[in-house]
């Protein structure tokens, strides 16, 4: 028990946090823009963005591998210009986690934005604020509950991703082996005990993190 390697746990947390932050930065503006248009094109685009949920993670991972791999245009460019590789690195794990988790955030945020009372937006406009400033001062805080739910879902999904991460990042011990991969490995190696312990660690940590996220969400919307 003493010699349980906690690296996968920390890597998983790091990857999930980074992916979630990226998902927030990319996904929320995207959800906002999608919400601005009520048209069919936006709805179609929305459906496309939901696709990563529908594809089996491993398959998604395979396509990511092809798309971002060292033979791909993107991969070669990064490798030649910045001597950077995405695949088989924590960066790859992060990107995989980002792709599988961002749809949850986008969808939640879009529906939260759509629920905002339009008269408040009107009031903000009349008070002379720019759309950007209204986004930060009205849209974000008022949609906060839904966004927070989306963030929680995205974070959980990023933390739990196995198939896509494994494919894109490989499972290099002490480098790209995340907790889900470690659990899977233990299970497949027939090491039930280790698997159980790892699952226990994973679930305890997750519950704590999710609980904190939950309380934070409450905090932010408490006084209303």
């Amino acid at each position: 028990m003493a010699d349980i390697n906690l690296f996968p746990l920390f890597l998983s947390l790091r990857v999930a946090v980074t992916a979630t932050l990226l998902a927030i930065v990319i996904g929320i503006p995207l959800a906002y823009l999608l919400g601005k248009s009520n048209g069919k094109i936006a709805d179609f685009f929305d459906s496309v963005l939901t696709l990563p949920i529908v594809l089996p993670p491993t398959v998604l991972g395979y396509y990511l591998l092809v798309l971002l791999g060292r033979q791909s245009a993107v991969g070669q460019f990064l490798e030649n210009q910045f001597d950077m590789t995405i695949v088989f690195t924590p960066t790859g794990a992060t990107i995989a986690a980002l792709v599988v988790s961002i749809p949850f955030l986008i969808k939640s945020a879009r529906s939260a934005f759509a629920g905002i009372d339009p008269s408040l937006i009107k009031a903000a406009r009349v008070l002379g604020r720019s759309e950007l400033s209204i986004f930060f001062s009205i849209y974000l805080p008022l949609a906060w509950r839904g966004i927070a739910a989306g963030i929680t879902l995205a974070f959980a999904r990023a933390l739990g991703d196995f198939g896509a991460t494994l494919m894109v990042a490989g499972s290099i011990p002490n480098e790209t082996m995340t907790m889900p991969i470690a659990i899977y490995d233990a299970l497949l190696a027939g090491n039930r005990e280790l698997a159980n312990i790892l699952v226990l660690i994973m679930t305890s940590v997750s519950i704590i993190v999710l609980y904190i996220l939950n309380r934070l969400e409450k905090k932010a919307t408490e006084s209303r």
Partner: protein
């Protein structure tokens, strides 16, 4: 409508390295017996777990004899049906027309080769064999840095095919000409990859299941298996 007897069917759980070979053998078996045969391919460990929890398979073809032993202990198999039907072989695969050709394991040390894919030695038998071979060749410590682990042998192949790993060690059975260049590794460099098969004792089709095991190692099965790179042992009995 008249036929009361339930439709006969054989359900075979097989390790994923058998995908190509068994699909072909299975078709011939169907032809011969007129009984439809269905394969469920997957990781050996996963299939073993499923069988332990009541999966309705008739036959289990593992890539790793350890799992057959495990099920035997759990008294889920007919012990007498346990047969080693093949020995797996591994080799080094590289992308065709790549600048760095790999002929021996030592070539893996070439700095041009940045990534080497093998299956996860913790649970994939082919990964374990690859690890043993690298150790025996005395280069494990040097190449460990470059290794990436696939979940199974087929993920490993994907890494090579997509050009993300310059080289990798895969099963001979997955090697398809043209897709990758392949150099067989000396079988002495690793423990034999003993692939075992057995009938699960819950089966309703014991007869048929036994027939299938014989069929694989028999005159029709054997050449096909061999054509997919398995070493089929001589009948010992």
């Amino acid at each position: 409508q008249v036929e009361q007897e339930p439709q006969k069917e054989l359900l075979v759980a097989a390790a994923s390295d058998l995908t190509l070979a068994f699909t072909e053998v299975g078709a011939l078996f169907e032809e011969e017996t007129g009984v439809p045969i269905t394969f469920s391919f997957g990781s050996t460990g996963q299939l073993a777990d499923q069988i332990e929890n009541g999966a309705p398979f008739d036959v289990f073809a593992a890539a790793n004899i350890d799992f057959i032993d495990r099920l035997k202990e759990a008294e889920l198999l007919f012990p007498d049906t346990q047969t080693t039907y093949a020995f797996g072989r591994i080799g080094v695969a590289t992308l065709p027309n790549s600048t760095t050709s790999v002929e021996t394991l030592d070539d893996l040390l070439n700095p041009e080769i940045k990534k080497i894919a093998i299956a996860n030695p913790d649970h994939a038998p082919y990964g374990l064999a690859a690890k043993e071979a690298l150790e025996t060749a005395g280069i494990w410590d040097q190449v460990e840095e470059k290794l990436v682990y696939g979940r199974n042998i087929s993920d490993t192949l994907s890494y090579i095919e997509t050009g993300n790993a310059e080289a990798g060690i895969i099963a001979l059975s997955l090697y398809q000409e043209g897709e990758v260049d392949f150099e067989l590794i000396d079988a002495d460099l690793h423990e034999p990859l003993e692939q075992s098969i057995a009938v699960i004792n819950r089966t309703n089709e014991e007869e048929l299941a036994r027939m299938f095991i014989e069929f694989i190692t028999g005159p029709i099965g054997k050449p096909i298996m061999e054509s997919y790179g398995f070493i089929v042992p001589e009948e010992t009995e």
